[in-house]
Symmetry: D2
Subunit: 344 residues, 4 copies
C-alpha cells in the first residue's frame, strides 16, 4: 500500500454519501446565503436531535471561523474567554479571538479539561474594571488531546456558569468522536450549553460546522456577524445538503464510531507492545510515545504529527483516525510496529 | 419550464467539469491548509497566465473574506480604503473592512468607476494626522453595476497610485465577465495592480477566490492573516482542484463568455422592446427599468433582484446570467416580456 | 499687542478659577481612577443640572476618546453610527470609530445638521444582514460648522430614534456655546438623548469631558471600556475638581456666553464691512469669506484656520473665540480689517 | 496626622515645581496637539539625556494608553506581545492590547522578569501560521513587583531580540525609581530598546508619559495612531511643560531617589521587626507579609493595597512611596508597627 496518513482527520474530502448528495443537487437553482430548503431541513433535523425546538442553527465553513464569529457575536468588548491552555482558541487559531478584540485567559489544565474550580479561580482573579471580565467558558469535546468531557463534568461547568453569570460554549470540531466515546449527546449538550457546534469537516463533510445557539440572549443578529467576518457562504445550501445527509439517518455517529474503533485498535495494539501514551484518550486521537529509532523506520509508510520529545530518544506523536481510515491501514501500522519493536 | 433565477450568478453549484475533478480526487489523502499539489499546480497556472513568476497566490473561500483579509494584511491601522460608494466593500459586506479597524472612504462615482481625480481629491482632503491616511484604492471589475474598467482607466489609476504612494487592489468577484467583455486580462492586471483576485464562486466553482499578490511589500506572512480571520480551509486542496480545472485549459473564460452572451441577448431583446437601462453594461449583469405591471406578471416564472424605483410605476431590476444560464431561459424571458409588452 | 489666536478654543490652558481649585487640592491624597469625592460631587451636580438622578456620569480626558469609548461600549460589532458628513467622528478622529470596528455612515447635510428624514433614509438603505445595522445617531451641538440644533430639531431626532430603535448620542465638545446660543439645556438634553457629553476642554478646563448616560441599557460596565481604551485617568480627581468648579455656580455657561458674545461681535463687524459667511452661526465659531489680499496683511497679527477657497482670490477662514478671548483682541481684528478693507 | 496613603504613587497631584510651571504658562496662547515649543524643548531634552539625537519623542497622557498605542503602531495584526504574566499589559489593562487585536503571551516568571530563555521558549512554541507570531518583548522597569532589570539583563534580552527579530519595548511607568535603584539610565535604555517610555504620572507630573522611539522602522505615522486611539491631548503643551520641568535639571531623578529612600526605610524598618517580604525590591514598592491582627490596627491611620494571603492569618500588602511621601509618615508607620508588634 502507499503511504497512509494518520496526520489528521481531514486528509480526505467527503464521505461518498455526502458527495453523492452534492452531485445530485449540483445544478438545481437555490437561494444563496443559507436561505434555502436544505439548510432549513438540516436545521430542523438538528433541532430535533437536540430536543431544542427554539434553537437557532447557523452553518459555517470552518472551526476557527465559527469560534471567532461566536465570540464576536456573544461578548462585549471587555469580556473574555476562559479556556484550557491547550484549547484550540488559545493557541492554534493565530490569535483569531484576540483579533476580534477579546482576551483569551489560558488555564493550565490536566487532561485538557477545565474544572469548575479553574473557572472560579479565574473569576476571583478578575474582580474589577482594571481587568477583563471573564464571560465565556470555552471547552472542546473531544479536547485537543483526545480526552472527553463526561456529562457530569459538563454539568459541573454549567452550574458554575450559572453561579457566575458565564456562558458555556462547546467547540465540537470532533463532536462525533466525543459522543461515540460516551460523551454527552446532542440533547444533553443542548440542555447544558449556551451554544455549541457540530463539526462536519473532521467527520464526513467536505467542510462545514453547524452552530447551535440555545440561549435566547445570544441569538439576535447573528447573521450580521457571520457576514461581517466573511463567513457567509454564497452557496450556503452546500452546507445544508451535507449536514442533512450526515445527520438525517445517523451517518454522522456511524462515521465517528468507525474512527474511534480504529483509534482504539491502534491504542491497544501499541499498548500491548509496551509503549506508553501521553494521555488516556478514548477518542480518535492517540498520543503514543515511541522510540525515535522505530519512528525513523515507520516514516516512509505512514505519516503523523510530532508533538514533542518527552525523553531522550523518545518522541510523542499524534495518530488520528477518521471515517476514512481503513482497518487495513491500522493493521499495517501495527504489524510494522511489532516487527520493528521485535527487531530492536 | 420551472421558475428561472436571474437573481444572481451563484444559484447553481459547480460546473460539471469542476464537480468531476472534485469527485475524482475525493478519497485521495492530501496535506491540509493549501499545502498540497493541487494548490501548487493551480498557483503555477495563475502565475503563468499573469506572466508573473514571483506572484504569491492564495486561495480563499469567499469574496468578502478575501477583501477583508487583504485589507487587514496590507494596511496599518490608520490607513484607509478609497472606493466607489457603490463598491462592495462600502456597502454589502456588513462593515467587514471597518471590523478590521479600517475606514472605507466612499466616493460618489458615475458608472461605479473611480477616476484618478477622485483619488486625488480624497487624498487632498486627508492631509494630516487628524484624519485617516488613504492608502489602498479598491476597484472591482466588473463593477457592482456591471460596468467594466478599460486598460486605459486602470493605467490611469495605477499612475495616480504611484504618484501618491497608494496600493491598487482589484476585486475580481466577476473578473471572468470583465475580461470576456474586453477588460484587462490576467497579465495586464498583474502589471497594473498590487493585488487582485480571480473570482471562482460566480464563475464555475463551488466556491473559491484566488488572490494574486504582486507587490513584494504585501507578501510577508499573508497566511497568518488568512488563518487569523478564519479563512484557511482545512481541506485546502478543494480550492486548488477547482482553480486548476477552471484555469488550466481556458474553461474559466469560456464560461464567462457564455454568461456575457446571454446577458447581451437579454440587453438587446429588452432594449428592442423600448425599455431603458439604468446603466450601460457590457457584462453579465443588466439593470433594465420595467413597468411594475409587467413585472407582476413575470414574477411567477422568473426571479430577479429589485434595485429601486426610479419613477412612479417603474422598477429597476437586476438580471444576472452565469455559466449555468440556459439560452432557453433567456429566450423564454424575452418571449414573455414581448407578450406582456404587446398586451399593455 | 502680540499675535492673537482665533485658531481654536483650546489655545489657553485653564480658567483661573479652575487652576486655583487644582492648586488648592494639589497635595491632598485622593483615591485614583475617579473614585474620589470630587468626581462624586461633580457627578451629583451634573445629575442635578440634568434633572436626572439616575444618570451615570463618567469623566474622560478628551473628546475623541469619549466618542470612541461610548461607541465601543454602546454598540454591537455590526452596528453603525449615522452622522453628518461634517461630523467630527466622520472626519477628524483619524478613524477612531472604525478602529473600534464600527462603520460611520456619513450623510451629506445642510448646515451640518442631521434631519429625521436623513436618518430614515439611511435605515431604509440598510435593510438586511449584508449591510451594517444603523444604531446610533451622532450629532454635535454646536455642530462642527457652528450651527446649533434647536430643541425642536432634537425632539424630531428623538422621535425617529424611538421609531427605529436607535440611540441618540450628542457630542458636546462645544456644548456651552450651544446652550448659551439658545440650544437645549442640560435637562432637555438629558430628556432627549441616550447619552451626551459636556465638553470641558474648549470651555475653561485644562482638559476633560463629562459623559452623561441616561439610557439604562447603556450603563453596565462602562468603566471597563474606559480602561480598555486607555481613558481612565490615574489622578481622576483632576477631572472632578475641574467640573465641580465649572458647573457648581454657573461658571461654565458664563464662559460660553462670553465666547459667543465675542464671536457675535466678530460676525456683525465683519458683516458690516460687506463680507459674507459660509454659514449662519450663532455660536463661537465664525466662517467668514475674505479676500486673500486682506488676509495676507492680517496674517502677522492674527491667527486662524483656513477652511477652503470658495472663489478665486477668496478664502473661507474659521475664527474661534473662547472664554479667554479678550474684547480688545476682537476690536483690534475688526479695526485692522476695516482699515484693510477701506484701503482696498 | 491624618490617614496616610501608601496605596500608590499617584495619590497626590503634581510636584510644586511642575504646578508652578503650569501656572506660569496658563494664559499663554499655544498651538495644540503637541506642536508647541514646550513639547519641542522637552523632546530635545529627552534626546540629549538619551544621547539619541534621532529619537522620536511623543507625549501621552497615561500608561495604558501609551502601551496600547505603541503596540497598535508597531505590530502587524498577527504579531504578538511576550510579557511576564505579572506584566501590566497582561492583567491590569482590561485587555487593552487585545482590544487592538493583538495577543499577549504571558510567561510565568520569577521576580517578574523575563529572561532570554523565556523569550526563546515562546518563539520555539510558535513556529508557523497556525499560531500568532511573537514580535515584541514587553518589560517594565521597575517591574510590577518592584524588582529592577539590570543593564546586563536588558543586554541579554536585546541580544535575543536581535537573534529572533523581535522588538524590545520597555514600560517605564516607574522608570525614575528603576534608574534611581541602579537600573539602566536613559542613554543605556536608548541603546538597548526599540522604544521605551518615561513615566511622569507616578513621579511628579499631574499626568503624562514620554514615549521614546529609537528604531526607525517604528517611527512612521505614529501621531496618526495616537490620534486614532484618542490619545492626542488638545492642549498638548501641558505635557511639554511638565516634562521640561521634570527633566531639564534633574528633578525627575531627585524625586525618584526620595521615593526609593523612603521605601528602603520602610523595608529595613519592617525587616528589623522580623517580618518577611514577598520579594526583594530595591525600589519604591515594598511587599511585606504582615499578621492580620496587626494590619487591623494599622488600618485607620494608613492605607495600602492587599495583594494576597500567603498563609493563614498573614496578608501580603503593597506599600508604595513617592516624591510626596513625607519621612514623617514613614516614621509614623514604623513606630506604630513596632508598638503593635511588641504588644503581640
Amino acid at each position: 500500500m502507499s503511504m497512509y496518513r494518520f496526520t489528521n482527520d481531514y486528509s480526505e474530502a467527503a464521505h461518498p454519501d455526502v458527495l453523492a448528495a452534492l452531485t445530485a443537487t449540483n445544478l438545481e437553482g437555490n437561494f444563496g446565503y443559507g436561505l434555502d430548503g436544505y439548510c432549513e431541513r438540516a436545521a430542523a433535523c438538528i433541532r430535533e436531535l437536540c430536543a431544542a425546538p427554539d434553537a437557532d442553527v447557523h452553518f459555517l465553513v470552518g472551526g476557527t471561523q465559527t469560534n471567532l464569529t461566536a465570540v464576536a457575536a456573544f461578548l462585549r468588548p471587555h469580556e473574555a474567554v476562559i479556556a484550557a491552555s491547550t484549547g484550540h482558541v488559545c493557541v492554534h487559531e493565530t490569535g483569531a479571538i484576540e483579533a476580534t478584540g477579546h482576551k483569551c485567559i489560558a488555564v493550565a489544565c490536566e487532561n485538557g479539561k477545565l474544572t469548575p474550580d479553574d473557572v472560579r479561580n479565574v473569576c476571583a482573579a478578575h474582580p474589577d474594571e482594571h481587568m477583563v471580565k471573564p464571560r465565556l467558558v470555552y471547552v472542546s469535546n473531544t479536547t485537543e488531546i483526545g480526552t472527553v468531557y463526561t456529562k457530569e463534568e459538563l454539568e459541573g461547568l454549567r452550574a458554575v456558569c450559572d453561579e457566575l453569570d458565564l456562558y458555556l460554549y462547546l467547540d465540537g470540531a470532533r463532536l462525533g468522536s466525543a459522543i461515540a466515546a460516551g460523551g454527552p449527546d446532542f440533547a444533553e449538550l443542548a440542555r447544558l450549553c449556551d451554544a455549541f457546534y457540530i463539526g462536519g469537516t473532521k467527520n464526513g463533510a467536505l467542510f462545514g460546522e453547524a452552530l447551535v445557539i440555545l440561549n435566547d440572549a445570544l441569538k439576535p443578529d447573528f447573521r450580521w456577524i457571520v457576514k461581517q467576518h466573511g463567513g457567509m457562504l454564497a452557496k450556503g445550501w452546500l452546507l445544508g445538503v451535507q449536514f442533512d445527509t450526515l445527520l438525517r439517518d445517523g451517518l454522522y455517529l456511524e462515521l465517528a464510531r468507525h474512527a474511534n474503533e480504529q483509534a482504539q485498535r491502534l491504542r491497544s495494539g501499541i499498548g500491548m507492545l509496551g509503549y506508553a501514551f501521553a494521555c488516556d484518550s478514548p477518542s480518535n486521537q492517540q498520543f503514543p510515545i515511541l522510540p525515535d529509532s522505530v519512528l525513523e523506520q515507520l516514516e516512509g509508510d505512514f505519516h503523523w504529527e510530532v508533538i514533542g520529545h518527552p525523553a531522550p530518544g523518545m518522541t510523542e506523536i499524534r495518530l488520528v483516525t477518521s471515517w476514512a481510515t481503513s482497518p487495513a491501514a491500522v493493521s499495517a501500522f501495527l504489524r510494522r510496529l511489532r516487527e520493528l519493536t521485535e527487531q530492536a
